[in-house]
Amino acid sequence: MCGIVGLYLKNPALESQIGKLFEPMLLAMTDRGPDSAGFAIYGDEVKDGWVKLTLQSVDADYDWKTLMGELEGRLGCSLEWFQNASAAVLKVNADEAAVRAALAELAPDVRIMSAGQSIEILKGMGLPVEIAERFSLSKMKGSHIIGHTRMATESAVTMEGSHPFSTGADLCLVHNGSLSNHSRLRQELKRKGITFETLNDTEVAAGYLTWRLREGDSLKEALDHALEDLDGFYTFAIGTRDGFAVIRDPIACKPAILAETDDYVAMASEYQALASLPGIDKAKVWEPEPATMYIWERKSA
């Protein structure tokens, strides 16, 4: 069992409150996932030519300042950064591959949680309330956000094994369910050059989407392929730069509920995670069909 929540704002006036609106949604799913929690928030976009990365260190007292100084020297370009608890958000006017190469050399123990122009992935072990407080979720601003509360069934409870998983630039995945063919699929994806950090089944699904998108699939095509190739049961929420998508397996083993008003689209594993949203009494509330993709995206700027 795990919990999934997502909130996509149609009304930009609410963007300054997204963290405040979203925090009770995540906390409402504590019963479904008390082991670890995380979220991917989209907003505060960097300019074209820049890339934003979210980094995490296992060392709570990690010396980010020194690393950033070294990185600036190595890359020889403009760089901005700020620390958020055990994570650091880095914005740099350089190519993502160059930043990754430099980080791999300068700080091999630092994990790159996400990369893109908008996304920040923050996650860790503990109750959802601890994660929300650690990263000051309620104060966050953004256009959309997806989150996850984990009750581990397939692999170890670690920061790396918690969700969301990055699946490429500005893309991430959260999952409720379990995949039965992840071992074989992991082997096949490794041969195609996809790297894995954990034995987690969701990371395989994330790697699978990364591979399909690299092969030129649109998000919709990648998810259509996923329906064919992923065996098991799942509800997925996928965050993209401009919105989010929801898909359930053809048997619809795992729950999902959607709600829409003029101001937002929200999804959750259970309605009680939506109950705190403003105007939910008058929202259109429905259960997504199995094996059907639901996508909400705003037009790119």
Binding site: Y271, Q272, A275, E287, P290
Partner: protein, 227 residues
């Protein structure tokens, strides 16, 4: 009339108060405010109470109900009225999966749609759905009647026993051993009665009846080589 507000009271307090009525009846009419999608509301009631839930309920609402009339003025989550024995459960909105699962008796009315596995393994309950139902509905249905005013999803009535199914709209596909059957006078009569009790003004003649072909009941010796 007694009102319980779940924004301040716990679900356990609500259910205990309802259960206590089976020992000493003090109040027949109950209103539950601010359910906020909470699970297990009005579960295990065993007295002829009238319970109005003002909003959306979570999982297993009115499960194991006996005698009570429970109305949910909103949607319900998984397993509404599961294993109900008697009474009436009415959902003004839509229901998630496994509505009325394994229920033995009583009447379950869902005015909106019901999700997958509606009436799975039903054992005597009557279920009337105003909208459509999802896939694998009435799987292994043993007794009772399922009425659907909208459409049915894939594999309706798979491995069906003796539940009778009436569908007005289209059936995406029939499950194993489920077939369309002739609508005889007694079926029109029972359907009319069910629609009346549920409060739907549909014409019984516009429905089709589905039931078990009864081909899976007994082991066929011709298949022995497969084992």
């Amino acid at each position: 009339m007694k009102t319980i507000d779940l924004s301040t009271a716990e679900v356990r307090e609500l259910n205990q108060a309802l259960h206590d009525q089976a020992k000493t009846l003090e109040e027949r009419e109950w209103v539950v405010n601010n359910p906020a999608g909470k699970h297990n509301l009005a579960v295990g009631v065993n007295e002829a109470l009238t319970i109005d839930i003002q909003g959306h309920a979570g999982y297993y609402c009115a499960g194991m109900n006996q005698k009570a009339t429970v109305t949910v003025h909103g949607n319900v989550g998984v397993g509404v009225a599961e294993n109900m024995m008697s009474g009436v459960v009415r959902v003004k909105g839509s229901a998630s999966q496994a509505a009325g699962a394994t229920a033995h008796g009583g009447l379950l009315v869902i005015e909106g749609d019901a999700g997958a596995r509606c009436g799975i393994s039903m054992k005597g309950v009557d279920i009337v759905v105003g909208g459509s139902i999802g896939h694998m509905s009435c799987f292994m249905g043993q007794a009772g009647r399922l009425v659907v005013c909208g459409d049915a999803g894939d594999a309706l009535g798979d491995s069906l026993y003796e539940t009778r199914i009436y569908v007005k709209g289209t059936v995406k596909s029939l499950g194993s051993d489920c077939i369309e059957k002739e609508m005889r006078a007694e079926h029109l009569e029972e359907l009319k009665e069910l629609l009346n009790r549920a409060g739907f003004a549909e014409d019984p003649a516009s429905f089709k009846r589905y039931g078990s072909a009864r081909q899976l009941y007994n082991f066929k010796v011709d298949n022995a080589s497969a084992y």
